[in-house]
């Protein structure tokens, strides 16, 4: 089981890193989403893996999984939605303003920005 989760984290990280290094905004955003999954699963796994022992207290049950990482990851998931939405609107604004969805400054823009100082 540990091997499976670790592989999932590895695959998500690799895919996320590759996409983050792309040139256009949309793949970069997708890459960040993948990285978010990877990080959330990693954080969750820091409580170690337990099967069939939800942190819902029941009479007569003594083993539960670690609830703390779950609480942290739960808010992280919601916050990462907010952050994704912010990045998306920034990317959208940049594209609508310049008709260009490159994440890199185009070289001539950078030059003029330097000259205007």
């Amino acid at each position: 089981m540990e091997l499976i989760v670790a592989s999932a984290i590895g695959v998500l990280t690799a895919g996320g890193l590759y996409l983050v290094m792309r040139l256009r905004t949309f793949p970069v955003i997708l890459g960040m989403s993948l990285l978010t999954y990877a990080v959330n699963v990693f954080l969750f796994a820091s409580g170690r893996l337990t099967i069939g022992a939800s942190p819902i207290l029941q009479d007569g049950v003594t083993t539960y999984t670690d609830p703390l990482p779950q609480a942290l990851v739960l808010t992280a998931i919601v916050i990462s939605f907010g952050m994704t939405a912010v990045i998306v609107v920034i990317a959208l604004g940049a594209f609508l303003g310049s008709d260009d969805d490159h994440v890199d400054d185009q070289r001539e823009d950078a030059d003029t920005a330097g000259d205007s100082q």
Partner: protein, 959 residues
């Protein structure tokens, strides 16, 4: 008056001139004067205690762990400087009121002036060297504003920049020096540092600390080779020059040398550095001053020269030298401020400060002539004026100073400096006021109103009174000197007298005055020699250094920070991998402590789907719709994984977030290109793939090894499991952690979420307010439109589903405390119910029916959660302490009431508001001008009579 109030008054008072500016010039200057006067009187109320031998202190601990305390101290030295700063400040304010023209913004001027005044008073009253540094930097900043006050003058801007660069750099050096000093002593309180002379001077770090602190003092007080900024700061309005260069800014360095005198002085290093710098500055400044034609430039270099004189006196390290320095600080402040103001009057009335265009003003401006002549003669060192007395003391001290083994070096140079000083003073009087009246003045000169000549006249009074009756000033000078000396030296048995008998200092003085007069006789040939001699121009050197630094910095920054995000990303990945590898290869790996758990076919199938979806996403990411489907599968697999691994709450959250994220991405994709073109080279793809694989491998091994071992320290989770029901009243431990144990975290998180949503709203508003708006309204959709945009089936279905989904949300919310669920998940479910209505009937229809704006929903959520937390204050418990009880209302079963549930309501509202505000903002962008906004929930409605309706027409025209 408390020292805190004295320091705070100018700072808070600085708010007033700007407010009063509209009320007129008199009101604006008047209120400034009142602020300064209040601080001045407050200072005087402390005089009796001071005379009784006390040191007035005021202390508030600010950051005691860093040794940074707000500690103020008023001793003789502090009082002396604060008296000069506030007293001369008063005169400057009344002078400036008449000097500034109607075009100058008076409120701005007085705001800067008061800020500067407060910073100066702060320096001289600080008892903590870190606090002193804060005020020290504040003077650099506020003087920058003052010097550059005439923003339209390039010289003003350049002068201000130069002053800031030089004094700011010195300030940085001084911070380092002060920190070393504090490390040596173990305290940053001046009163403690001043007790530790032996420890400081014996420390090996003494010399570095001394040099760094002196760098700060020398740059501030314009000592050679940092003297060049002062004359360029003369581009400021004359009241600023008079204030900064007589009593305040440049005296700050002198003040600090005097303050630190007991612990830093008396060593060979101090003596060699300070005396030499002072001597060179004195002679060089005087020499340049003699040949300046601009009245203010002449005075500027004479200020440099006199500062050198005072520095030299402090450098000798004797008690008599310190006493002479204190006396000269007082005398110089009086006559120099008067001279600067006189120069300002001449400039104001004759419209020129060029000595070559002036002359003969004696008859035209008798009052100014009298004031300026008395002050200038004092500067020249003529008996019966105060400048003579302190110059005598300086020559006396110089006569006993042996520098570099030479008995004659200091006396000769000091006499030469005094001679030059006399010469330029005579030139100032002679070439400006004496001689024939001319008929080619730029403007007809005449004496100004009393508003302008009274302040300098007021300063000439002590010049004469001290000069005639020095014994009047003696107690004060002795008091100040005593506090400069501290416990390092005994007060010298010297007295302030006009006649000391036929001592060498008298002969040196006579030589200086006679020599100065003779020099004036041969001034014209001398000037020709001076003007043909090559001289380094400090400004050119400074500018070239600045330009070179700027070029280097720009080259460096533009190369490193070239705007290529992809490069930053790959460098970051590479750096993290490198650090990780370093940790991996140097650390040790303990043996696994956990058994690997067996996995059945289902988890393996889930992993395979996740891998397949991720690979599909990476390979086919150029097709953006397809990519969204793949990422949806990935999210779904992650949710299922959470279910499998005993995290039902996470699974529900991930699942619902997935839905809204995909909707959001689809909305965004509506505007973005639908495909990603191939741009990078194959090599680059290989490079990125290599980096990504290495990163994935690293994450895999880290996670795997991590999970195979138990935590090194015992996790705190046991506490949560044990107390969840007893203390929090809930059996869903995750939810109890969120709303109870770590409720404060959650509170912060819903605020962050709200801010993110507001940010999205604001960015959308900005887009719609700019040129993008027209493009959006008139764009041609690049995808075929649906024939029926609001299909009847969907409208009916979502309407029917809405109450059901809301009920589910309500149920999830209610059970959250004991079963998987809670505010976050319920909020997301409710949002999905509302979003469905937007999707079915369109943005216009749905937002028309919106009763509460989403901003308000976010705010209400944060407030409900906040007030729940505050509620616990009323029962004297800390913020967000929860409570619960069980009640039974027949015929219902017993149920629980918890304050945490109220908090969860806040979470729910904030989540609904944030999600909806984000999605709504995106869909606002989608409106187009050629799109009919239907007031009906669906395009084709059998119940509506008179088909085909206009909406049906609209649909057809679009096709």
């Amino acid at each position: 008056m408390s020292l805190f109030i004295i320091v705070a008054l100018p700072f808070f008072g600085a708010l007033l001139p700007g407010v009063m500016n509209a009320a007129g010039r008199a009101a604006c200057a008047g209120v400034t004067l009142m602020v300064s006067l209040a601080a001045f009187l407050g200072l005087l109320t402390n005089l009796p205690a001071l005379l009784a031998g006390e040191v007035v202190t005021a202390r508030v601990d600010w950051m005691p762990t860093l040794g940074l305390n707000f500690t103020l101290m008023l001793d003789g030295l502090g009082f002396f400087f604060a008296f000069l700063i506030l007293g001369i400040g008063l005169l400057i304010i009344s002078y400036a009121r008449h000097y500034l023209s109607r075009d100058d913004h008076m409120g701005e001027f007085f705001t800067y002036l008061l800020l500067f005044q407060g910073a100066m008073v702060g320096i001289v009253l600080s008892d903590n060297i870190l606090l002193l540094l804060v005020f020290w930097e504040l003077t650099s900043l506020s003087s920058f504003l003052l010097i550059g006050y005439w923003k339209h003058l390039p010289e003003g801007r350049q002068g201000a920049r130069m002053a800031l660069a030089v004094t700011g750099m010195g300030g940085l050096a001084m911070i380092a020096g002060m920190l070393i000093l504090g490390q040596i002593v173990g305290s940053y309180d001046l009163s403690v540092i001043l007790q530790n002379r032996e420890a400081i001077q014996a420390d090996p770090m003494y010399v570095p600390a001394l040099i760094l602190i002196l760098l700060g003092c020398f740059t501030k007080s314009a000592q050679f080779p940092f003297h060049f900024w002062l004359p360029h700061a003369m581009a400021a309005p004359t009241p600023v020059s008079a204030y900064l260069h007589s009593a305040t800014m440049v005296k700050a360095g002198i003040f600090l040398m005097a303050r630190m005198w007991p612990v830093l002085s008396g060593t060979p290093e101090w003596f060699a550095i300070v005396t030499t710098a002072g001597l060179v500055t004195m002679v060089l400044g005087a020499l340049i001053a003699l040949f300046k034609h601009d009245l203010k430039a002449l005075l500027a270099f004479s200020t440099v020269s006199h500062l050198g004189l005072i520095t030299m006196l402090l450098g000798t390290g004797t008690a008599f030298g310190a006493m002479a320095a204190v006396f000269h600080i007082l005398n110089h402040a009086t006559f120099k401020a008067a001279l600067f103001m006189s120069a300002g009057i001449i400039d104001h009335e004759a419209h020129s400060r060029d000595i070559r265009r002036l002359g003969g003003l004696r008859r035209l401006m008798p009052v100014t002539f009298a004031i300026a002549t008395l002050a200038a003669l004092s500067m020249a060192g003529i008996p019966l004026l105060n400048g003579f007395l302190s110059k005598e003391m300086m020559l006396e001290e110089a006569n006993h100073t042996v520098l570099f083994g030479s008995y004659w070096l200091v006396p000769v140079l000091a006499t030469f400096g005094a001679l030059l000083s006399a010469a330029y003073s005579f030139r100032l009087i002679g070439h400006t006021f004496l001689g024939p009246v001319r008929d080619d003045y730029p403007s007809a000169p005449h004496d100004p109103g009393p508003g302008m000549w009274l302040p300098p006249a007021f300063l000439v009074v002590p010049v004469v009174v001290i000069g005639v009756a020095p014994f009047l000033a003696e107690p004060f000078v002795r008091l100040v000197t005593a506090s400069v000396l501290g416990e390092a030296a005994a007060l010298p048995d010297a007295h302030l007298k006009i006649w000391h008998g036929l001592v060498p200092a008298l002969y040196m003085s006579v030589i200086a005055v006679v020599g100065g007069l003779l020099l004036m006789g041969v001034f014209k040939p001398l000037l020709r020699v001076w003007e043909t001699a090559p001289r380094p121009e400090a400004k050119v050197i400074f500018e070239s250094i600045v330009d070179a630094s700027v070029a280097t910095a720009r080259g460096l920054v533009l190369t490193l920070h070239n705007g290529a995000f992809t490069r930053y990303a790959s460098i970051t990945v590479l750096a993290i991998l490198g650090l990780g590898y370093h940790a991996w290869s140097t650390g040790t790996l303990s043996a696994p402590t956990r058994e690997m758990q067996a996995a059945g076919a289902v988890p393996i199938a889930g992993l395979l789907m996740l891998v397949a979806a991720t690979v599909g996403l990476v390979v086919l990411h150029r097709n953006r719709f397809l990519a969204l489907i793949f990422i949806g599968i990935v999210g779904l697999m992650v949710s299922i994984g959470f279910v499998f691994l005993s995290a039902p709450d996470l699974a529900m959250t991930q699942f619902t977030v997935e839905v809204v994220t995909i909707i959001l991405m689809l909305l965004a994709l509506n505007f973005l290109p639908k495909t990603t073109p191939v741009e990078s080279s194959a090599l680059r793809h290989m490079r990125d793939a290599g980096l990504a694989l290495a990163g994935g491998l690293a994450a895999f091994s880290l996670a795997f090894h991590f999970m195979m071992r138990d935590a090194v320290a015992i996790p705190i989770s046991e506490f949560h499991l044990a107390n969840s029901y007893k203390g929090g009243g809930g059996t869903n431990v995750v939810n109890v952690i969120l709303v109870d144990f770590r409720g404060f975290d959650t509170y912060g998180e819903i605020i962050v979420l709200g801010i993110a949503a507001l940010l999205i709203f604001a960015l959308t508003e900005t887009l719609l307010g700019g040129p993008v708006r027209a493009r959006l309204l008139n764009r041609n959709p690049d995808q075929p439109r649906a024939g029926n945009m609001h299909p009847t089936m969907m409208v009916v279905l979502t309407r029917v589903m809405m109450p059901v989904v809301l009920m589910v949300g309500f149920y999830i919310f209610l059970r959250g405390h004991n079963e998987p669920g809670g505010g976050f998940i319920a909020g997301l479910v409710v949002s999905i119910a509302v979003v469905m209505q937007y999707m079915a009937s369109g943005f216009h229809w749905a937002s028309d029916r919106l009763r509460y704006p989403y901003h308000g929903v976010i705010g209400a959520g944060v407030l409900v959660a906040g007030f729940t937390g505050i509620g616990s204050w009323f029962v004297s418990k800390p913020f967000l302490t929860s409570d619960f009880t069980y009640v039974r209302i027949p015929p219902f079963e017993k149920f629980e009431l918890a304050t945490a549930a109220l908090f969860d309501v806040g979470v729910l509202l904030a989540v609904v508001g944030a999600v909806m505000l984000s999605l709504e903002s995106f869909s606002r962008l989608a409106r187009r001008s050629d799109m009919q906004e239907s007031e009906y929930p669906m395009d084709i409605d059998p119940s509506r009579a008179g088909l085909p309706s206009q909406d049906a027409d609209a649909v057809r025209t679009e096709e």
